[in-house]
């Protein structure tokens, strides 16, 4: 059980943003991806659950080739939760309905079942009091936690986080990181694209440093963040710490 990324290339028009990335994330692992803006790390996440097509290479999720013809992406996406930088709450649904929707419509669960799951996940991220509220009444941090609960409600095997704290006010970052800490302590497999270096160092089993579409260094946080080998990594860490 793993996500295997094998020599993936991805371009937008003439611009190649991912230039041959290979890495494997084992079940139960937390891997953080750090690197400058535009280094292709967010794009790679979108490729993992097939939201973006790739130009060459392969991505295998539990052995299923994501980009192969005939792969049922809708089915595959059930086991890969993703949380975006912009939380993308569904504004016309209440918090509870936001989280209930996919279990009901995609997994075909009954209303009662879906509601039970949603309430449980929302309580888990600390939103048990906000069930009947519309997202517009929530803070950015609360909306982001709701988005996490929404993804969790599908009982995914993997969770992808795409710079989930970048659009938040500084005082709201903590509550979202706490939620992610909780998940990692429960053994969730996570790929976390982030600018929060301290957080990456704390929760990750491994850290990957992305630079200009390539992985320059990958390894335990103590190594990549604590004792970087490559000059690009050193320069990057110096600029953000």
């Amino acid at each position: 059980m793993s996500i295997e990324i094998q020599d993936v290339h991805k371009s937008f028009g003439n611009l190649e943003v991912v230039k041959g990335v290979t890495m494997t994330v084992e079940k139960g692992e937390v891997v953080s991806v750090i690197g400058g803006s535009g280094s292709g790390k967010s794009t790679l996440l979108m490729c993992i659950n097939g939201l973006e097509p790739i130009n060459s290479g392969r991505i295998l999720v539990d052995g299923t080739d994501v980009h192969a013809r005939g792969t049922d992406l809708n089915k595959l996406r059930r086991k890969i939760g993703i949380v975006f930088q912009q939380w993308n709450a569904f504004p016309h649904l209440t918090v509870l309905e936001n989280v209930m929707l996919a279990p009901r419509k995609v997994l075909g669960k009954s209303k009662a079942e879906a509601e039970a799951i949603a309430v449980q996940k929302l309580s888990h991220v600390g939103l048990g009091e906000k069930l009947k509220v519309y997202p517009s009444k929530l803070s950015g941090g609360q909306q982001q936690r709701m988005a996490i609960a929404r993804a969790l409600a599908m009982s995914p095997d993997y969770m992808l986080f795409d710079e989930v704290t970048s659009a938040l006010d500084p005082q709201l970052v903590g509550e979202v990181l706490d939620t992610m800490r909780l998940l990692s302590s429960e053994g969730m497999t996570m790929i976390v694209v982030t600018h929060e270096i301290a957080f990456a160092r704390e929760v990750s089993d491994r850290v990957a440093f992305f630079h200009k579409g390539r992985i320059h260094e990958i390894g335990p946080p103590a190594q990549v963040i604590g004792a970087p080998q490559q000059p690009e990594t050193v320069a990057f860490l110096k600029s953000v710490l």
Binding site: F84, V106, M154
Partner: protein, 220 residues
């Protein structure tokens, strides 16, 4: 001023006029239902990959928006006769207003579609929804809110436009009935004043119910 108002004549005709109002409402509602249908077709057509569809949709929309409604009704009533399509007053009026509604609503729908950010679709797809499912459950409801107010406006327009039916000989809608009464008695002002009040009340009723509906539908 030598004129004495005779309101009683007009009030006596009120039942007839109210029946006429029902026909007015019937034309308006039908033209909206058909208009919405064609507007969706036009909105889809204008984003089609085939040039011919795009051209046809654009022609319809621009003609509807850049010529008078009365002209469009005329075309349906007199013009189509030349190519062998003889329409009665009622279908001609309905066709004219439908053509007009569809042209305006198509633009409304396109705007509504643009108003829903593409990230919503992406978020829905990431939860495992298929494209149709995501459109129906996530994009459509949000789009509906954006187009709701312009749609009620169009409905009021449609009601007001039905009054043009009298020009192509319709005699059983509110204006048609009123004109018939007028021709018989020449109490023009009284009859048309009552008709005006009825039109006003219908328009307000539509606006008010739309507002109530919006209040119940859009709680976010």
């Amino acid at each position: 001023m030598h004129y004495t108002f005779q309101w009683r004549v007009a009030f006596n005709a009120l039942p007839d006029m109210l029946w006429g109002a029902l026909v007015t409402l019937e034309v308006a509602v039908l033209s909206m239902v058909l208009g919405v249908f064609f507007a969706v077709v036009l909105a889809l057509g204008s984003s089609s990959q085939y040039r011919a569809f795009r051209g046809a949709a654009a022609t319809w929309v621009e003609l509807a928006r850049n010529t008078p409604a009365l002209f469009q009704i005329y075309m349906a009533y007199f013009g189509l006769g030349s190519i062998g399509i003889q329409l009665d007053s009622f279908p001609a009026l309905l066709a004219g207003i439908t053509f007009n509604n569809a042209g305006y609503l198509a633009e409304t729908f396109r705007g509504g579609l643009r108003a829903v950010p593409p990230t919503q679709m992406r978020a829905a797809r990431s939860l495992g929804m298929g494209p149709v499912q995501a459109f129906r459950l996530i994009v459509l409801p949000q789009m509906f809110r954006v187009v709701f107010y312009p749609m009620t406006n169009q409905m009021v327009w449609a009601i007001l436009m039905t009054s043009l039916g009298v020009i192509v000989g319709l005699n059983n809608d509110l204006t048609g009935v009123t004109q018939d009464l007028n021709v018989k008695s020449f109490r023009t002002f009284e009859f048309f004043a009552v008709a005006a009040v009825i039109y006003y009340l219908i328009a307000k009723l539509v606006t008010l119910s739309a507002r109530l509906m919006a209040y119940r539908l859009f709680r976010y």
